[in-house]
């Protein structure tokens, strides 16, 4: 088999497409760890996690971002719902008015650190679920 230019082009195209498919399949099947808020630590930064907690603080800012703080009675963590996500939630009938203090919500997202505070950043509407009181 000769390593001609055309052969290398086809081979690299096949490898790149195969790689992307495998990466995609791996990502959608990688379930985030279900974890208690009090067990979340800063060395988990960058990992996708899932947790539930009660809303103990909520602030809506002028740009349409809704900043929540949820707690499991032992620890608390920030959950920023940015305006683009709020826009998508609105399309399925969920607005900022639906998030009340003491509501129990489940959140999935990447753990990030912002100004020394841990936060879970959900990215799509299905990452946030209001479970009730």
């Amino acid at each position: 088999m000769k390593l001609t230019k055309n052969f290398l082009i086809v081979l690299s195209l096949i490898v790149s497409l195969s790689g992307m498919i495998i990466i995609y399949i791996s990502s959608i099947n990688l379930e985030p760890n279900q974890i208690k808020i009090s067990d979340i630590t800063s060395d988990m930064e960058g990992r996708k996690i899932s947790t539930t907690g009660y809303i103990i603080d909520r602030k809506l800012n002028k740009d349409g971002h809704l900043f929540l703080v949820i707690s499991d009675n032992k620890s608390a963590i920030q959950v920023p719902l940015f305006s683009d996500l709020m826009g998508n939630l609105k399309q399925i009938g969920v607005t900022e008015r639906d998030f009340h203090l003491n509501d129990r919500i489940s959140v999935k997202g990447a753990l990030e650190i912002y100004k020394d505070n841990l936060q879970i950043v959900p990215r799509k509407p299905s990452d946030v679920k209001i479970l009730g009181d």
Partner: protein, 416 residues
């Protein structure tokens, strides 16, 4: 205190040289260690001075491995694009000239951006707020420019194809959570630019010719001034605005400013890199928002900053620049004298192995998968004869989707 500030600046410079010369490493990798050692240093300003000096020294010296070895540093978004034009000059025997061009770009950018910050720093918040809503339009315009600046229809289609392919790769990979976010760009950029260049070089059996160390520069003074001017503007925007990295800004300047040839591009890239670091270090005071790993670390050490703190940073930046310029030029002459005696193909294999090992250690098996995929896109781009900067679609496409507010929709469709 004055003596200690100079001592910590020298220590930071030495640390920056080491980090800059070692491929795959960056200050961001050692910042947690430095911060954990802060209890040993009485005055927090000394640690801040060390960090500032390290950042500046590393910016200059990191071009040495990227040009001579084809290996980027750990913050691959900053100098990966230098690999190809630098490699081109290296194979012409003009590797020292490539280093000199990056030094000129960096030095010019430090001087000009320092003056701009001192004179106009108070207006940066306005610039930040005014430009942010229009970023997506600027990026889309440049992408269209990248595609349609090609003259032949097949090149237009191929360029668009590579941007699309790398863009899809970027959307899937950067949002995958397979690898920690702070490390994801390393396998992506190392694969797209470094490993693919090394593989092509190995298969073409490139030999590093004797390197000339004369003072000739194949670029006019007016082109240098233009490159520095554009790089300072781009570096300031990169330093202020989120989601726009050095490589993307360099790509924009390459097309919008006509800085596509190897020499002006190296001056521009280095200038953007340096101006970005200068602005990022001062961003805490200028826009109350840290814009780099180093400025986040500084914010933890010194939460409240005054104008005099900014002046201290500026002084350390200028002092370190004054030291690192002659050191980098000296290393730029010394390193190739050693490399010419080495079998370059063997060296390329060793660097390749080292980069693969670093990807494996830093990002694990998934990182290697990402690296292989990225490498294949880079190799495909090289063999199709498409400009390597088209691979910047890996960041440009996700940036456009982010600024257009389409991310939640894309994540829902892809279920990632």
């Amino acid at each position: 205190m004055l003596l200690e500030i100079f001592i910590f600046s020298l220590v930071g410079t030495a640390l920056g040289i080491i980090l800059g010369l070692l491929p795959g490493l960056h200050l961001n990798n050692v910042l947690p260690i430095l911060i954990s050692l802060s209890f040993l240093i009485q005055n927090p300003y000394y640690l801040v001075v060390l960090i500032v000096a390290t950042v500046i020294a590393q910016v200059f010296t990191s071009f040495i491995p990227s040009i001579f070895l084809g290996a980027p540093d750990g913050d691959s978004n900053s100098n990966s694009l230098s690999i190809l034009p630098g490699h081109r000059l290296l194979l012409e025997g003009r590797g020292y000239e490539a280093i000199k061009l990056t030094v000129i770009g960096g030095l010019g950018a430090v001087m000009v951006s320092t003056i701009v910050i001192l004179l106009f720093g108070n207006y940066f918040t306005v610039i930040h707020n005014v430009t942010r809503p229009y970023i997506s339009y600027a990026i889309i315009t440049v992408v269209l420019f990248m595609i349609f600046s090609e003259k032949q229809i097949n090149k237009i289609l191929l360029t668009g194809g590579i941007i699309l392919l790398s863009g899809i790769f970027g959307v899937v990979t950067l949002n995958s959570s397979l690898v920690q976010q702070q490390n994801i760009l390393f396998p992506v950029f190392t694969g797209l630019f470094a490993i693919s260049t090394l593989l092509v070089s190995i298969t073409e059996k490139s030999n590093m010719p004797e390197q000339k160390t004369d003072s000739k520069l194949g670029i006019s003074k007016s082109d240098i001034v233009k490159a520095i001017g554009l790089s300072v503007v781009a570096g300031i925007l990169v330093g202020l605005l989120p989601a726009i990295g050095v490589s993307q800004a360099a790509t924009f300047m390459q097309y919008l400013g006509g800085m596509g040839q190897s020499r002006p591009f190296l001056v521009t890239l280095s200038g953007i890199n340096t101006a970005n670091e200068v602005v990022s270090l001062n961003s805490l005071y200028l826009i109350s928002n840290p814009r780099s790993g180093a400025s986040v670390a500084i914010e933890r050490i010194l939460p409240q900053l005054s104008m005099y703190d900014m002046l201290l940073f500026t002084g350390v930046i200028l002092f370190t620049t004054g030291l690192i310029v002659p050191i980098t030029l000296y290393l730029g002459k010394t390193v190739p004298r050693f490399l010419v005696k080495v079998n370059y193909n063997l060296l390329s294999y060793l660097i390749l192995g080292f980069l693969v090992l670093m990807i494996g250690i830093m990002t694990g098996g998934y990182g290697l998968l990402i690296g292989i995929t990225a490498t294949s896109i880079g190799v495909l781009c090289a063999h199709l004869g498409v400009k390597r900067s088209s691979c910047m679609g890996v960041l440009i496409v996700p940036s456009v989707l982010f600024f257009l507010g389409l991310n939640p929709l894309i994540f829902t469709i892809l279920n990632i």
